[in-house]
Amino acid sequence: MRKFHSLLAILAATSATLVSFTSAAAEVNIYSARKEALIKPVLEKFTEETDIEVNLLTGKADALLARLNSEGENTPADLFLTVDAGALHRAVEADAFQAVSSDEINSAVPSHFRSTDNLWFGLSLRARPIFYSPERVNPDELESYLSLADEKWNDRICIRSSNNLYNQSLVAALIEHHGAEKTEEWAEDFVENFARKPVGGDRDQIKGVAFGVCDIAIANTYYFGHMLNSDDAEERSAAEKVKIFWPAQDKQGAHVNVSGIGITKHAKNVDEAQKLIEFLVSEESQKWYAQANYEYPVREGVEWSETLQQWGDFKQDDIEMDILGENNGDAVRLMNRAGWR
């Protein structure tokens, strides 16, 4: 009998979750590749101000996209949010978005950070500069991403696996700027300069520089921001041994990627979805959204967080984000051939 009761409890709990998201109030549903902790607070704020319920499902971008596609016109998702240009591009290719025309959004998001047909809009920027040890590297020796193929960096570079989508986007950008052939030659020499086989995440590369495993690393700035502001004293002191170098400042500029959002083709709550995008690009949310993760706001004129201000202004690579997506497959093949694992 006890068994039977616990079974009943389980069934009740199941049906509760099944039913809980079918309520009728104004709502909007998001599939998000951005982690819950980095978006939920701003969504709660939106609900508070507009009375529109937001239902969130987080996951990996391509898996969510696969779900979106197979659900087809009956999908509950109104919005699809990703953290890199490649996934946005694949969503466009899969015809998953619908165009949005909103002056409010267009004026907030610079044109190269939204798709040409207004299918998606950037929300924040993620810069991927060079990190170096001021003890062992003179910043005058540093120049651009390409110059890291030079022999003098032999055994001195830390970078994570090419499974990482930001490495893929970086190489996709290099293909656009320098051509596939030159980029492949570069990649072959660059891989030779690795201080170790690529392991771990971006923080590990920065730590590698701090602990002297290597002298140079490539990583996204927000990891560095988290380390500098960490609760953990060791992590803070490691980060303090490392400095940022903004590469290619007299050329294309430092590589940036975009986290962006679009309204799905079969959205049921288009108005609410558009309201949410407008809310996300508003000055106040932009500030929070960028600061929560030490990212750069996509909207111009929004104040940067203190940490970001310390790193200084820099020239961004203003390549069309669509191109990063288009070149992504070629970038991965190129890295496969160059032995970048």
């Binding site: 499902l57 987080t58 990996k60 898996a63 659900e71 087809g72 490649g86 392991v199 995440g201 602990f211």
Partner: protein, 542 residues
């Protein structure tokens, strides 16, 4: 085929559906991608997978069999404790163990820090093994996966008749020789089952490999799908992975080819524990403590230290909601999966026709397939079904019921059944194999119906394998990540999802509490299992 068998066959095929989707992808080969992968990375994937299979296979056999033997045969200080403590590493998700060991053993960790302080050397001036490497991955998988071998082999050793073992000794064989010549061969089917499970999990592992930078099929599948944007090519890589699984299963079958050892249990004496003392007792303790310390004490302590840093989490009601979600989902999935396994295994025993056997083998292969591939293999058929239902309902009732399967708990439970059926199927099968066909025959001669034989003869005898299967699935579901991530409903999270989101953002301290909770929740069933097994042995001894 009668109606019952037909239904059985249909269910087995349904469970095998995602695998069929994977296999069908081969009909439309992406030559471009495949050729490119073949020339660049596939040889490496194969090489690494082969090394992993051999090394992890050897490691889990050594750890699992030696501990199972000590616990089932000897009386030494602490064996009662150890008998269940040895199961604890099962509750640790492999990638979490990988994270904890990295933070301990990497150059930035305390161990190397102490070495540098004592010998006043700098990084690069001393040798220290690199934890994030192929060897590191082998180490982590061995200490996390050996409990499969331990659990199944221990029950086999316990159920072995001492008569056989003692006859060997009476005939003048030494203890060691009797172990090699009698106990080990008798336990071979059980060992093979445990090792196969561990190796299937090895092939499906993504988290550890990705973090340690080991290139294998799973990392390649993600890379081909997300990076090159070729979903078909990724499915074809999964199909290649299936080849490994099929080889694995064939090796397992071969290894137990004539090994259908049925034992006359009623006539056996329960095993008498032999007391150990002195260095022998110390050795037995060491053999059993080592995997517990490596696989549980060390990583759990690290998690605990991280959790202390984030103590505020324990007061959040949302965190307890996560725990509750994880627990009921795991329990429900375990019940469904084990019921299915029992039904299928039993059906195969009664009607061992070729198509049915093939369908059940197919259903049992899901364990080695990365969860994400299963999820994707399920997405399209489920969504198709949903869309048909909606179309019909709108046409007939002018009412849109919404998606009934996709994005609901039903989809999750389906995926778990596919992924973990083989865990329960193998455990139940190895239990069924201990029941002689003569028992069925006897019962039938006495006029018992099939149903009655199941309830009165088999189920009581199967109690401990069924419980083992329930707990293995429960713990596995609680750790499961990729399929949960893709298929779960809106605003529905589990502990594994939370731990992963934090860990993948490289916020290890925040990943501590949910990971620790998985372990804590996993502990309760593990202890229950161990108790149940022991009370059963005691009863048999009365």
């Amino acid at each position: 085929m009668n109606r019952g068998t037909l239904l059985l066959f249909a269910v087995a095929v349904l469970i095998g559906l995602p695998l069929i989707v994977v296999a069908l992808s081969l009909l439309n080969p992406q030559w471009d991608t495949l050729q490119h992968l073949w020339q660049t990375v596939i040889p490496e994937y194969i090489g690494h997978s082969v090394i992993l299979l051999f090394a992890v296979g050897t490691g889990v056999t050594l750890l699992g069999v030696s501990t199972a033997w000590c616990i089932s045969q000897y009386d030494f200080p602490g064996w009662r404790w150890l008998s269940w403590a040895l199961l604890l590493p099962l509750a640790m998700p492999a990638y979490i163990t990988a994270y904890t060991y990295t933070s301990l053993l990497d150059y930035a960790g305390p161990v190397q820090g102490v070495i540098r302080d004592i010998f006043s050397v700098n990084i690069g001036e001393y040798w220290f093994p690199q934890i994030r490497s192929l060897n590191g991955a082998i180490f982590v998988l061995c200490i996390v996966l050996y409990p499969y071998v331990y659990l199944i082999t221990r029950s086999a050793f316990m159920q072995q008749s001492t008569t056989a073992f003692e006859s060997a000794k009476t005939l003048g064989a030494s203890s060691l020789r009797s172990f090699w010549k009698v106990a080990l061969p008798l336990a071979r089917p059980a060992i093979a089952t445990g090792v196969t499970l561990a190796l299937m999990e090895t092939l499906a592992d993504y988290g550890t490999m990705e973090y340690f930078g080991v290139t294998v099929f799973t990392t390649g599948i993600f890379r081909t799908w997300y990076g090159i944007g070729d979903a078909q090519g990724a499915l074809q890589l999964s199909a290649l992975l299936l080849v490994f699984v099929i080889i694995l299963i064939m090796v397992e079958r071969y290894s137990r080819r004539r090994a259908r050892f049925y034992q006359q249990r009623s006539a056996t004496k329960p095993p008498q524990r032999r007391p150990l003392s002195g260095w022998r007792a110390a050795l037995a303790s060491l053999v059993c403590w080592l995997p517990v310390v490596l696989g549980f004490v060390i990583p759990a302590t690290q998690l605990l230290l991280w959790s202390v840093q984030k103590s505020e989490i324990w007061q959040q009601s949302e965190f307890w909601m996560l725990t509750f979600n994880t627990l009921w989902l795991g329990l429900l999935a375990a019940l469904i999966t084990v019921t299915l396994a029992l039904w299928l295994a039993y059906g195969r025993r009664r009607h061992p026709t070729r198509p049915l056997r093939a369908a059940i083998s197919l259903a049992g292969m899901g364990y080695a397939i990365p969860g994400i591939v299963i999820a994707v293999g399920l997405l399209s058929p489920l969504a198709w079904l949903d869309n048909q239902i909606i179309a019909i309902s709108e046409w007939v009732f002018d009412f849109n019921p919404g998606l009934l399967f996709s994005g609901t708990v039903i989809a999750l439970l389906f995926a778990y059944s596919v992924r973990f059926l083989s865990v329960s199927l193998q455990t139940v099968n190895s239990g069924l194999e201990q029941i002689t066909p003569q028992m069925d025959d006897t019962a039938r001669t006495l006029g018992a119906s099939g149903k009655r034989i199941l309830w009165r003869v088999h189920l009581p005898l199967l109690r401990s394998p069924l419980l083992a299967a329930l707990i293995l699935v429960l713990v596995d579901v609680m750790k499961e990540l990729p399929a949960t991530l893709v298929l779960r409903p809106f605003d529905f999270n589990t502990l594994a999802v939370r731990a992963f989101e934090m860990a993948s953002d490289e916020r290890l301290a925040d990943a501590g509490p949910p990971a620790l909770m998985i372990v804590a929740v996993g502990l309760i069933p593990v202890i229950m299992l161990s108790r149940a097994l022991r009370s059963k042995t005691l009863k048999a001894g009365e």
